[in-house]
Structures are given as structure tokens and as C-alpha cells.
């Protein structure tokens, strides 16, 4: 599954900016892949891209219209269907992360067939994977893991990929969630894969590559989350990381959506190493990424220094505030310069 860019981002007529967070995420990381946005009357979201009609987008070379907004329930509202059909008729592919499958809507299915265009439902896995093999692949891999869901694993992986490239490493971002798939143009929403194929899908997501190529893999869930730990473990085994970064949100007291208390960073480091050794005996933690937005600048720096000291001097950072330089330094000292 390769989603071709440039993209036109369809925002529909959603009532707030948060409903368009998929589109916002794409613009944050791949603005150069986006030619414009298409908004229906009443739309309250705005990515800052130029407004553009479908025919303008087609003329500008857009390959895929991405539905980058969701309404409540993840359905495709009736009055969005005409835009999807128009995009297909204009020769664009269409991609969404909605609950509903595009091809379950007859008018859309027919338009795709009529025009020979592709429909991507990244929330649904239509792709067939092999079961995981656990065999060591060439190339180097870094996985973002976390004390919980939604603690910045995607952001950390994307920021690390960017920082590695800027420092002269060859690296690429490997997506395991919906927004990540749009940002990388490839990948799979791991949470939508059939359970038997989690690690196999992770192996497909981070395939064999050149020895000096670094794949920076988006994490999912937490080994300590009672709802999603299975996905996390399959991803860890399949991605066989050489290094991992632990992401943490220090104000959170219980795991997202459940009553389970958060594990400590050290517990996550220990269990990730213990389980990760199954497919990569040399796995090690290379850094800690913390959301310090609740703290002032000086407090945040003091807190990160304290976290680093408490974990054998592992580099600690807030990716949004302070970047990934200290963790890239660690990669250089542990694995060598680019």
C-alpha cells in the first residue's frame, strides 16, 4: 500500500479544528506533499494551506485526496460523498481513516471502478500479511515505546527521523497508525490488523534495508496497557529495534481509558529489553522523551536532568521544546557517526 502524493486535504464541514487533526498532522510533517485543502461551506477547521477545488487540484498534479477530518462516529456524511466521487472522476485516488469503508458506499465504489482509481481505508487492513518470522533483518531500527497510549510516540519518531536526517544519517519514518500512514505514504494501522499477523505486519512495515539505513518506527500502546499491550508486544517483536526511546507524560496518573496506574519509566525500559531480546539480543534504550508542557522552561530542564540522572545518564528531552539532538548524540556514541 503506497499512497501517492501530492495530496489534497479534504476537511468537509467539521465544526472544530480538532476534528481535522489528521490533516493538521500531515501538514505539520509533510507540508511539501500537500498542494491545498478543500473545505465545504461552514467548515471551522483550517490547515493554512491554500483552498483549492478538485479540478484545480487535479490540474496542479495532485494524486490523492485525503479525507483528513472525521465527524462524530467516524462515518462519511451523505453530503461528503459527492466530493469523493468528484475526486475519483477527476483522476485522483482517495484515502481515509474513517470507520466506514469507502467501497461500502456504492456510488464511491462505482466511481473508483469507472475511473480505475484506488481507495485507501487505512483504518481497515485489506492487505494480507505473513505471520512474523523473527528473523534478523539488515538495517538499523529505532522504536518509540511508551508508559501509556497517547504520550507522543508518533511525534517522537517523526522528530527523531527529522533530526537523524539533518545530522547526515539515512533514515526514514515507518508508520504504524492512521495519521502516520498518511505522513509516510506507506505503513499499516497495526491496531486494525488481525491478531495473528501483528508481528508479521510490523516486519512488513520495517523491511530489510541497507545496513546503514535507520528506520524510525512509530510506537503503539504500552506493554503495561491492559487494553492494547498485545499490539505493543507484537510491534516490538516484529520491529526488532536496535534502540528504543521511552515516551512519557508525567502528569498522567492512570492509563488512558482504564483505571490501571501508570508504570514507571524504568519498568518500561526493563520489560521492553526483556521482551525485545527475543528478536534482537542487542536491544537497548537510547533515550527518554517527556512531555513537559505542564512545567516552566527552567523547571522542565531541571526535571529532564533529574530523569536522566535517575536512569543511568540516558539522554532525556522534550521533543517539542528541546529537540532530539541529545538522543541523536547517543545514537552516534552507541552506533557510530553517519
Amino acid at each position: 500500500m503506497i499512497i501517492e502524493h501530492p495530496y489534497l486535504l479534504f476537511l468537509g464541514d467539521v465544526h472544530d479544528a480538532l476534528a481535522a487533526k489528521t490533516a493538521t498532522g500531515i501538514v505539520d510533517w509533510r507540508k511539501d506533499w500537500c498542494k491545498g485543502q478543500l473545505r465545504l461551506p461552514g467548515c471551522a477547521a483550517d490547515t493554512g494551506l491554500p483552498d483549492m477545488s478538485i479540478s484545480e487540484a487535479a490540474a496542479a498534479g495532485v494524486k490523492t485526496m485525503v479525507v483528513g477530518a472525521v465527524n462524530a462516529g467516524g462515518r462519511l456524511p451523505e453530503h461528503w460523498i459527492a466530493s469523493v466521487v468528484e475526486a475519483l472522476d477527476a483522476g485522483l485516488d482517495v484515502a481515509t481513516g474513517l470507520h466506514v469503508r469507502l467501497e461500502s458506499i456504492p456510488a464511491i465504489k462505482e466511481a473508483a471502478q469507472r475511473n480505475g482509481r484506488k481507495l485507501f481505508d487505512v483504518r481497515h487492513s485489506t492487505q494480507t500479511f505473513d505471520t512474523g518470522k523473527g528473523t534478523k533483518r539488515s538495517g538499523k531500527r529505532i522504536l518509540a515505546v511508551g508508559t501509556d497510549c497517547s504520550v507522543g510516540k508518533k511525534y517522537t519518531a517523526l522528530a527523531m527521523d527529522k533530526a537523524m536526517n539533518e545530522r547526515g544519517y539515512t533514515s526514514s519514518f515507518c508508520a504504524t497508525g492512521q495519521t502516520g500512514v498518511f505522513i509516510s505514504g506507506r505503513g499499516a494501522a497495526l491496531d486494525a490488523v488481525v491478531a495473528d499477523f501483528i508481528s508479521g505486519a510490523a516486519e512488513w512495515i520495517s523491511p530489510e534495508t541497507e545496513d546503514n539505513h535507520w528506520q524510525i518506527i512509530e510506537g503503539q500502546g504500552s506493554l503495561f496497557h491492559p487494553s492494547f499491550a498485545g499490539v505493543t508486544l507484537g510491534l516490538l517483536h516484529g520491529s526488532q529495534p536496535d534502540g528504543f526511546i521511552v515516551c512519557h507524560e508525567p502528569t498522567r496518573k492512570t492509563m488512558r481509558g482504564v483505571k490501571t496506574p501508570l508504570p514507571t519509566i524504568q519498568q518500561v525500559i526493563d520489560l521492553t529489553i526483556q521482551c525485545g531480546q527475543l528478536t534482537n539480543p542487542d536491544i537497548r534504550c537510547i533515550g527518554i522523551a517527556i512531555n513537559t508542557s505542564a512545567l516552566g522552561e527552567d523547571e522542565a530542564k531541571a526535571y529532564l536532568a533529574e530523569v536522566s540522572k535517575a536512569h543511568n545518564g540516558l539522554p532525556a528531552t522534550d521533543p517539542v521544546r528541546f529537540g532530539m539532538e541529545n538522543i541523536v548524540d547517543r545514537v552516534a556514541s552507541e552506533f557510530g557517526a553517519p
Copy 2:
């Protein structure tokens, strides 16, 4: 999903006994649920049940025809379709563990609708689950775990359930795989569930029950299997066992289907406790079940004594050869008499 019995077991015209192992498994454990078998000309399998036509089965009160055989590829051969339609027309439900979905075959879908009958594709999860919550449920639970796939976890759980009942405990078998679902009439093939819902499905499989009711839960995979550990971890978290039994096949050198070496029994005990504590802080190992078929009777006994001694006196048995009495004794000493 409740599959109603009595069953008629459909064996088709498979060319060997192994192709009918689902039917054989059902007869081994639920012979009293089975009225007969239906074989087409040329069938080489035989469960020992009386041969019976569909009309005879309907007259005998059969509620469900179970397709208990697979041909290569898990498809439904063209010439089996007439039997499925005939069963539906006779007022029976039909259940299979095939790769193909029954309702994807128009003649079968129409016959089911025409007669208001149910189709069960236990390999495919049509059921919707919630995500796992990790909340402690009333009732007591025992989970079979393993050093690998296919080391006797289903057999161990069924034998434990039987032995517990015979000793006066209230217990029931909870199925997590295809054959198990036919044996229990309820459950879900966990490997076919969407990844996000593994632990949620496990919670549904072993729901809240009376305090003195024991649910004996069929295990899947191994925490040390690089293909399937995610399923195993989600099952462990969702089933929140009070006790677990480690199943092991001592002649196996590498994990099934991959090149990864087998873990030790002690490694499985330690990691199961470490991870299982997330949803049940009191989790403990209550016994070890070993396939000793490669050994003579005296050798087997000596080996089991050695295994027990090496693991702090945990009871060790071969469920097929020596039954589950010593592990039920352990339940009595750890958790009290029935």
C-alpha cells in the same frame, strides 16, 4: 455467539483422518453433544459416530451441522455446498472453521435467510468486542500457557476442567480457538480478532461469574513466540488468571514455524507472572503439563519428578497419561476445597 447442540458432524469426502481433526476433537470431549456424522462417498475419516442423513439428524433433534473437516486451503468445495444448503433447509444452523465465510457463498447465504438459520464462521470474528478494561472480575480463572504453540494447551485446559468438575468444583471450559469453540459452544477464535480487541475479547470469553466458579481458559501461542506473542499477552491480560499451567513439549528444539529456540519452563513462569500481575496481582503458577509421549512409562515418571523438583515442587504431569489430579490437589491447597 452460542452454537447450539446437539451437533451433526459433516466430514465431507476428505482423504485422511487428520483432515477431520476438528470433528475428532469435538467427539473426544463432547461425544454426548453429537448425534451422528455425515460422510460423502469416498470419505476416509471416521469419528466412530453413527452415520446419519440430514433428515435423520433433524428428526433426531440436531440443532447445528458442524463442518468438522477441512480440505487443502480451507475452502468449501463446490460439492459440499448442497449439503450445507440441505441442512439449512432442514432447519439446522451451520458452523465451520474454514477460511472461506459461509455467507460469501450466495446459495448458502440465501438458504440461511430463507430459513431464518444462523451461520457461524468461527475462524472469522463477526462479533464486536469492547477494548479490554483490565478491571478485576468476580470468579476464579485458570489459564493454560506454553513454551510454544501446539504443546497441548487446549487438551490441558479441557482435562483440567473435567478433573475439577469430577472433584466437585464448579468449572467450565472457555474456548479461544476454533475447535475449542465447537467444544464449548461459545468463545472466539482469538487469532482472528482485530488486534485492538484481543484483551477485550478475552474478557468477553471469561466474563464475570460466581465467586466459586472456575473458568478454565484455553491458551494460545507463547509469550516467547515471535509470531504470536501479542495474542498471548492480550489473552493473559484479558483473562486475568488466578493460576496458570505451563504446557511443554520437551523434544521440541525451536518454536513452531520459526527458528527461535524454545524458552525454558522457568522463563515462561517468570514472564507470565511479571506480565500477568498487571490485571491480577495474585497470579501464580499452579502446575506444569508435559507431553512425555517420547518416553517410556518409568522414564516419564522420573522426568516429571525431576521437572517438579527443579520448579519448587510445582506439580508436574502428563495430562494424557497421568491425568490432572496433582494439579487439582494444588488448587485445593492454594485456593481451598470445592
